[in-house]
């Protein structure tokens, strides 16, 4: 029978078309031995007893952007949430909500991207589900992703454990994802210099944990940007975080784009970046190890933990100080 080129309601109805979709698109793109058994639930084996378990929902417009797409984003988002708890990501589950009329070719591209990102992270997609909704009820593809990872014995990362004197190390350049997606979504035509940093962080996290055994905490600044993560660490630890603006790694074109659009890079999203809270005597070793890895070559010490009351400050380039505040909602480009 002729294979439909677009997603129909029947693709989510649990009958023949659903079966074809699962076998020909999903299992073919990212199925391992477990998923390919196509049982009602995945049977997996994990030797350790300290597990990290997380779930994420993903909506992004456009579905494809320079440096990534919603499939890569779904895998990296979950992998990174596990990784910054110190866990080694093992098993992932993905739920797809598809809009009727979506081109099958687009779904195939997303599925292949899921497979590639999962392989990059060394995690296996073992379970999934698909539903189809009317075109007006969804924007192309929504994905929820859950993941399980093992936390090695002796590894205890918690943002509540930040102490006075600790240093903040950022693993790479900020604001790459948010600017790339904004450029793609609004057709700003900023140019080819922009790509999302969307990437699994678990390998770099392993590198950080071995280089700095006293590592206190990791956090990945996604939506809400670096500012929100600093405030979260400050609130959880009851300390003050001080960020040195001159030390922030940011590529010149990203900085220029933020200035033109009136965006503060501290609040712009990232998808492949972590902040490490590290005792001062281990910061140098951590920095050296991160910089030796191509994924961490732009790592920098960007601030410190001081006595305080759950607040955060920025030391500005000009030498002033200002408060960091929670700001919700997507940043809006300005008029002039």
């Amino acid at each position: 029978m002729h294979k439909p080129a677009r997603i129909r309601m029947a693709h989510g109805a649990g009958a023949r078309l659903t079966g074809e979709l699962v076998a020909e698109v999903f299992a073919a793109s990212f199925g391992g031995p477990v998923l390919s058994r196509l049982e009602d639930s995945a049977e997996v084996y994990l030797p350790g007893s300290r597990l990290a378990f997380t779930t994420d929902c993903h909506v992004v417009r456009p579905l494809f952007f320079p440096g990534g797409d919603i499939g890569r984003l779904a895998v990296c988002g979950t992998v990174n949430d596990l990784a910054v708890k110190g866990a080694r990501p093992r098993f992932l589950s993905l739920g797809f909500i598809l809009a009727e009329g979506l081109e099958l070719e687009m779904l195939e591209r997303v599925a292949r991207s899921v497979g590639a990102a999962a392989r990059e992270a060394g995690a296996e997609v073992v379970a999934g589900d698909t539903k189809v909704v009317e075109a007006a009820a969804a924007d192309g593809i929504f994905i929820t992703s859950s993941g399980v990872g093992e936390i090695p014995a002796g590894r205890n990362l918690s943002i509540a454990s930040a102490r006075e004197g600790d240093l903040l190390v950022l693993s790479g350049n900020i604001a790459e994802h948010g600017v790339a997606v904004l450029d793609a979504r609004e057709s700003l035509g900023l140019g080819r210099d922009f790509a999302s940093d969307c990437a699994p962080l678990n390998a770099l996290v392993e590198c950080a944990c071995s280089a700095a055994p006293g590592l206190r905490a990791l956090r990945d600044p996604t939506r809400g940007g670096l500012a929100s993560v600093c405030l979260e660490i400050a609130a959880a630890s009851g300390r003050r975080l001080v960020v040195d603006e001159t030390a922030l790694p940011i590529r010149p074109p990203v900085r220029a784009a933020c200035e033109i659009l009136g965006l503060d890079p501290l609040y712009v999203a990232n998808e492949g970046l972590f902040v490490a809270v590290v005792p001062p005597d281990q910061a140098e070793a951590l920095l050296k190890a991160l910089r030796a890895d191509p994924r961490g070559s732009d790592a920098a010490v960007i601030g410190r933990v001081e006595r305080g009351n759950g607040d955060a400050e920025v030391e500005t380039e000009a030498g002033g100080r200002r408060r960091l505040a929670w700001v919700e909602g997507e940043p809006l480009p300005r008029i002039c």
Partner: protein, 363 residues
Amino acid sequence: MNPEPGAFRDPRLARKLVAEIDELAEGRQATFMEVCGTHTVAIARSGLKSMLPASVRLVSGPGCPVCVTPQGEIERSISAARLPGVILATFGDMIRVPGSAGSLEAARSEGRDVRVLFSPRDALNLAEENPGRQVVFVGVGFETTIPGFCAALREARERGIGNLSVLNSFRLVPPALRVVLEHGPGVDGFILPGHVSAILGTAPYGFLAEAGRSAVVAGFEPVDVLLAIRMLLRQEAEDRRTVEVAYRRAVRPEGNPAARRLIEETLETADAGWRGLGVLPASGLRFRKGFADFDAGRRFDLETPEAPEPAGCRCAEVLLGKLGPRDCGLFGGRCTPEDPVGPCMVSSEGSCAAEYRYGQTED
């Protein structure tokens, strides 16, 4: 863009200027108004107030275009978005300004076609790509932005694009400064907007000096602003009042005559209402006869309702510099950037939003 923003953020240069400001300000109190919203943000974001002596006070003025747009014109843009077949185009910071029945963002989530554009020129293409629909651009802005609209409308006429129109909320800066002089707080000097002045030049501000105020056109980097403050203090120390430029890499004293001509050939001055300031003579613009077709207000018979400003909102006094953002009872409680009551909290260039986001740590 500055070729090297780094140099204009150099902490050594900043410290040197602060030391000179300390010296000039010793034994006197000075209140300066930064007129432009972009300055408000630059000052807050670079933490300049933490570096200045307590004797130099900075207050924000009526230079945020979104903030000064009266409530009735906000309502008008939201009703335009709800007209059948209309694509409403707007700059980003307008879409969250609340009207009596939701915002443009709310209209968009109801399924109305509201697009965020970055330049009036983008609206030309949008109109051309959607020949069966009407593109209405919310025309908010000062002298910096207006020439871009004029150029786009002229191009629309040349290209025969008939389905584009503009909701005119254009405003001119100098008339608002006259009101600040008459009714505002005691302002000793003005930090004048850099980009507006790149169009206007210095002559239109001459009345400030005549009224005994110092005035300096400033750029937007921290060192630019500190330099302007030092120049303001020096004018006072030397007892001369004049309009100077501290932003010569962008502003010529004569401004940009070609851009002014573009405005004059397309629009003519008219009385206009300002949030909090009331109707000011010759402070706005209306379409000249040859361009009246582009007036969305006429094309769609849109009314500008008499709309009250939100209860308890003190944006009006904040715009005049009479009140600081934190003096408003709604600040940070009922009114936040996530759920704003007044426009000074909505626009990223509004003084309340800047204070909320960047205000100094209180300890």
